[in-house]
Point group: C2
Chain length 480, copies 2
């Protein structure tokens, strides 16, 4: 048994073997920080998170380093204009702030939104503006090797010089580019060439000195520069949303491999599919996007995470109220088993994961199959059934092992178990004290046969979003 | 009446007049991110926070931009070696991580620790490694103008060329430097010269190409580069811990003013004093430092903030268990008034601040006097007395105004009112529902003269850290 990953580069599932024996490098394209994160970001970075969590579980002897960039320069607006405008500059004019203030603000909010989804932070979050030198160095190398040319302070990659261009996407043509992110200027030799460095127009706030005059890097070059700086010239996994496979990732391969003398840039390319509603892609540019912050007013972020994990990362996720409600019903069922087990097993020692257990093996087999979280979740329902049955039979000898199984599979790997955030832990503890007092008040009311009083406590708590559950072991509480 | 600031440069209190009519630029030296924040950081950044909060209150028509750097390269260890080592590199060897992973980790924890102290985030948190080009540009300018010289890939500032060197600290001598942060190499023309750029030794991970070969910037140059980039060549306020006035801030002035043709770099220099315990400075290098994270296990972070604000920023803060306990007693007294008022005034409309009120005028006068938070807090005790008396007399016409006074003075300006963090608000609300049920249970027990039951509720809550307070308006609750 081995972990298999669907590699966009080869169009098949391949067994995973790390480039280096002792470490694994993972890079996913990060957000452009000119607005709040939406459900598309949730799907992309939950995918990255699952990859990192599972690699860390599966290869405990290798150091997994996860790098995810912050794009704060060079990403142009999509429009029909031949040049487009830098998204950060546009937003900075709207907000009457320096582009770096805009970047600071949305970067912070981005991480808050991701934290709520229980997404582990990247080991390194490099910023494009913080790596201008590294980008210039690659461009200089490409010019020296004849893969790039300069015209009037702009530097372009010369696609005709790279026979491998197109190997990721199977595309060389520029049909997408006139509506896309690659600047199309009249001074290009060929319309498919793409910008590595752009001359700064008058009034452009984001600009730096370079051998070609004042300017700023193109969007694609940042990912080549930052991934290779921190992970080496050849590394294991590069992920992105499917829409970035061309031209963005294709250009990354061309730049990186031409600069390093055709060393293979990335071994496994992973692309996650989109989030749809009514079959239509959700995304900011289409106007039907749902910002995560708005969704969090209505839904538990972990329930949204669960909804996304119920479809495979390479499938689309249909994100409607009904779909979320259906997923949440299943999620609450799992949580209810887990919480009852937690309370019943309080004080028991921590055991390791029982790797011979058939449920555990089934779960690992699903995850080994290109991170099939949908199938892995199906196994959790079996775990829930087994847990409920152990609790009913008071089979206490099983409690500690079951708890470890939940904690590793649902907690460490899938990241769907609620964990008290450090800022909440104190309040959670006090809340627990208050709730246990209330539970005893209710019991006392029942004992004196004042059922009106005991029912009132239960109903009022329910209305406040707090559920009491009566089990053989006594009454427990949880937030809805 | 005008805001007066003690200016280290002129050694007197001066009326504050902003450099530009419509904006105010503030820069404080940020942390070197190779370890966790300690109480010294708390004092420095609470000082910065008070400055920013008060400027925003006092000058609502001016845009206050607060820039605070992250030092992730160039800050050398203090030791007797002539060159020292980069603190990030040393830590990265210890943790067996890339220096940028170390920086990422401690930057995140730094902001978590500052958030807990209710310190508003900077508008821009630039990283030294993200501004290498900007630092190189200033060094080139200094070389061109004859204020610097290059030897073997190192560039030094030539102190003898700058007649103004020493104007901040009154010091020119290098007595501190051999034990300090400025590299002392044999290739300097004079021992008082300081490094602008250092040649990278073999194996140094943090290095970039420059006109002088591969290397990295000195510590001082980063603050010149990042403050001027985002605030302009002349800006309003630059703050730091007193220990940084020489050589760090002195060198900043020299570099900046020599590069810009002697434009005044900073108008007001502010320096906060240290935190002591038993009269001895607390700090990491002395081994008696208290990490904030450890203190938070024992103390409410806002109570620590209150303790620090009880002494003026230019005085030392004595930080002992007794001092914190004494401060906390006062703090709880203030909070008790405020919380009773909050509950009594629920639903009342928000009024503005009553600027003619003598308490408000007194508070502003204290803050105008070089941010005298110690005196401002004394006024809050009068506000507490006035509030308690209004509540006792049920003088409801005063409630809304009093509430606004608390919210602006203690909340917006001093930042000592607890605010439900967004992640906590949901739990807080549910906790409130549960507590109101419990309060009614207790009342019901009393009504049926079951005082054992009603006392038990109160005592158990007290043991859990939840206080019930019986007032004329009914029973309220708060966390201890």
């Amino acid at each position: 048994m081995a972990l298999h990953i669907y590699n966009t580069l080869t169009r098949r599932k391949e067994p995973f073997e790390s480039v280096h024996p002792d470490r694994i490098g993972v890079y996913f394209c990060g957000p452009t920080v000119y607005g709040d994160a939406h459900v598309g970001h949730a799907k992309a970075y939950i995918t990255a998170d699952i990859v990192n969590r599972y690699l860390r579980f599966r290869f405990p002897d290798k150091k997994v380093t996860y790098v995810q960039n912050i794009t704060d320069v060079g990403h142009m607006t999509d429009n029909d204009d031949v040049s487009g405008e830098d998204k950060l500059e546009v937003q900075s004019r709207k907000e009457r702030k320096h582009p770096m203030e805009v970047a600071e603000y949305y970067t912070r909010r981005y991480f808050e939104d991701m934290d709520a989804l229980n997404i582990t932070r990247p080991d390194i979050s490099p910023r494009a503006t913080g790596h201008i030198i590294e980008q210039i160095e690659i461009i200089k190398e490409l010019l020296t090797k004849g893969y790039a040319y300069e015209v009037n302070g702009n530097v372009y990659f010369d696609v005709a010089q790279d026979k491998d261009y197109g190997k990721l996407s199977g595309r060389k043509a520029e049909e997408q580019e006139s509506s896309g992110r690659v600047e199309e200027r009249s001074d290009k030799r060929s319309p498919q060439d793409f910008a590595l460095w752009k001359r700064a127009e008058k009034g452009h706030l984001l600009q730096w000195p370079s051998p070609w005059g004042m300017g700023f890097p193109g969007w694609h070059i940042e990912c080549s520069a930052m991934s290779m700086k921190y992970l080496g010239e050849s590394f294991d996994i590069h992920g992105a949303g499917l829409e970035n496979s061309f031209p963005h990732n294709e250009c990354e391969i061309a730049q990186s491999e031409c600069a390093t003398g055709k060393k293979p840039f990335v071994k496994y390319w992973m692309h996650n599919n989109m989030v749809t509603t009514g079959g239509v892609k959700m995304g900011k540019s289409l106007g039907n996007s749902a910002y995560l912050r708005d969704l969090y007013q209505q839904y538990d972020p972990l329930s949204l995470r669960f909804t996304i994990l119920q479809s495979h990362y390479r499938s689309t996720t249909e994100f409607t109220e009904e779909a979320i409600a259906a997923a949440d019903a299943g999620y609450q069922k799992l949580l209810s088993s887990y919480h009852r087990l937690l309370q019943a097993s309080m004080g028991l020692p921590v055991t390791g994961l029982e790797e011979s257990n058939s449920l555990v093996r089934e779960f690992i087999a699903s995850m080994d199959d290109d991170f099939n979280t949908a199938k892995a979740i199906a196994t959790l329902y079996d775990l829930s059934t087994e847990t409920n049955s152990a609790l009913t039979q008071q089979d206490k000898g099983r409690y500690a092992t079951l708890r470890s199984t939940w904690n590793v599979l649902a907690g460490n790997i899938l990241g769907i178990l609620p964990r008290a955030a450090s800022t909440q832990s104190d309040l959670t503890e006090k809340m627990d004290s208050a709730m246990h007092l209330l539970i005893r008040q209710r019991k006392a009311a029942r004992d004196r046969r004042d059922f009106a009083a005991s029912d009132a406590i239960r109903n009022e708590l329910d209305a406040a979003g707090i559920v009491l559950e009566d089990t053989k072991e006594g009454t427990t509480w949880r937030l809805k």
